[in-house]
Amino acid sequence: MSDSRIDVKKTYKLFIGGAFPRSESGRTYEVKDSKGNFIANPSLASRKDLRDAVVAARGAHGGWSGATAFNRGQILYRIAEMMEGRTAQFVDEIVALEGVTPSVAKKQVEEAIDLWVWYSGWCDKIGSIYGSTNAVSGSFYNFTIPEALGVVTVFAPAKPSLLGLVQSLAPVLAGGNTAIVIASEKYPLGAITLSEALGTSDLPGGVVNILTGSPAELAPWASSHMDIDGIDASGLSTAQEKDLRIAGADNLKRIFRFKEAKSPQRVLSFMENKTVWHPIGV
């Protein structure tokens, strides 16, 4: 190969409904590495892209929440497999953006991959551990079962960029929800590469939708959107979260912030308990 070869640069795009479109607005913005050098021009998603993502996520919800928990677990595990093959790419991006050493970056990637495996195991256990059989005064069986909430929007912590994203996204999916991820504005490359791994993970189109751009711009629209059921606000400032809660009050949006990376409570937060009465002896 001669020195004169021109690099084939990647166009950084959104991930909506299993496809990789540009922003409908045509906007992009600059991402710089930790030293301030230009590194990429990802799409700057608009509220219309958000709305399209909600339509995709809502459309995918029936299939994903209706799939067997075991099948969802297999697919989350498959995501870990697909990420493993892209470890080097994730490491390079984290090193460039966050300015950490390769070994620190590698540790973050491995933790993120292992976290998928951890949450994949929860898919078919959450119901049996947190569901219950309730004693009632009548000839009925009475069961309570946690079920998927619906469409959840994820504002993941900016740093550590990949691990923060996975610890917000994986529990949402494990509970059977479909998700819209608003990637960190400053460190979006991990989310974009993750979308490419998700695209080859047997994950049905629309179950995860990833938007790059400005969380501050999209947050109010996400919060007032009647067809988004929950928000993981871990990546927003407390001031932004306050606005989010005001805008989401009308539609009773479930808004949470989390600290622990690994907790079944993160899965349960985006589930609703359904209680079923069944007559005994019929």
Binding site: R51, M226, D227, D250
Partner: protein, 317 residues
């Protein structure tokens, strides 16, 4: 022009055939490009609100399923009268479109529920294939009119059209039109998805208009592709030209595949830019749809409330 107009209106098949031979072929690439160009127009805020209300009032709210029941038909009648129960400023739809045996149910329910001014359209003449004898088609049409349908959506015999038997197509339309008389409007479904070329669409449009159609309609909704923008463009050009020749305005009804507000607004832009503003009313332009209405309502709610709605906030049927 006078001779052309005569060819279209003197009722003789020979002169119409002669006229169809003089039709220039459709520039397919040009039609596609023009339709695509008009689709890029951005309609926002006040114009969008106007367009949404106009589109709602143009909808032929349709249910054409083998699984239709009285209950479902009554439900869509309720929706036709008051599309958004939470907002009385939403206009009622253009018409209800149902199968023949549901006409009586729909008419009765509309009349009893304050929808007396909403017409019922019946799909007729062995819809959707049209593969039946003329006797069957006649009975089908008479039944619908007797039950209270004031709009008849008939299908043309595409097999006859494609094999060149224009006489059969023409005479059927003329005959069904005679059954409609002054009791019902006649919409002629060309089923453009089966006509293959734009040239055929143009030809079939003129044939139907000359035979007495009050409306020309793209599709049954059972065949894909249905109401694509270029096809609607070709049909709108045909009604415009027909008006210039004869002074008679024929309506257009795209049906099938129009599911979003964006699609509907694109259709309105096509109408305005091709046929003209006179066609921007439910008397001359209708949209055959079912799912579209909910999307229009959601967009309307967005304009009113400032935030995006969801399918859980509009009625299902």
């Amino acid at each position: 022009m006078v001779t052309t107009a005569a060819a279209l209106t003197d009722g003789s098949l020979a002169s119409i055939k002669g006229f169809l031979k003089t039709l220039s072929p459709v520039d397919q690439v040009g039609a596609d490009a023009r339709a695509a160009m008009l689709a890029t127009r951005s309609i926002k805020t006040a114009s969008k609100k106007w367009a949404i209300d106009m589109a709602i009032s143009m909808i032929d709210l349709t249910t054409l399923e083998g699984a239709d029941t009285d209950g479902k038909v009554k439900a869509i009648c309720n929706k036709a009268i008051r599309p958004d129960p939470t907002d009385p400023t939403v206009p009622h739809v253009g018409a209800i479109c149902v199968y023949n045996d549901m006409v009586a149910t729909a008419r009765k329910h509309l009349d009893e529920s304050g929808g007396g001014d909403i017409p019922v359209a019946a799909v007729s003449t062995a819809f959707p294939s049209g593969r039946a004898s003329l006797e069957v088609k006649e009975r089908d049409t008479k039944d619908a009119i007797a039950d209270g349908a004031t709009e008849i959506d008939m299908v043309i015999d595409r097999g006859a059209f494609l094999s060149g038997d224009l006489e059969k197509v023409y005479s059927e339309i003329v005959y069904i039109k005679s059954l409609c008389g002054d009791k019902a409007h006649l919409k002629v479904i060309l089923e453009t998805g089966e006509l293959v070329t734009y040239d055929n669409v143009r030809k079939a449009s003129f044939l139907a208009m000359a035979a007495g159609a009050d409306f020309i309609k793209t599709s049954t909704g059972k065949v894909a592709p249905a109401a694509t923008a270029p096809v609607v463009l070709v049909m709108l050009e045909a009604v415009r030209d027909f008006y210039e020749m004869t002074g008679v305005r024929i309506g257009v009804k795209p049906a099938g595949g129009i599911r979003t507000t964006k699609d509907a607004i694109k259709q309105l832009v096509l109408v305005k830019e091709t046929a003209g503003e006179e066609w921007l009313n439910p008397g001359l332009f209708r949209i055959g749809a079912s799912a579209l209405l909910n999307d229009l309502l959601m967009q309307r709610q967005k304009l009113t409330s400032g935030h995006y709605g969801g399918a859980n906030y509009v009625t299902l049927d």
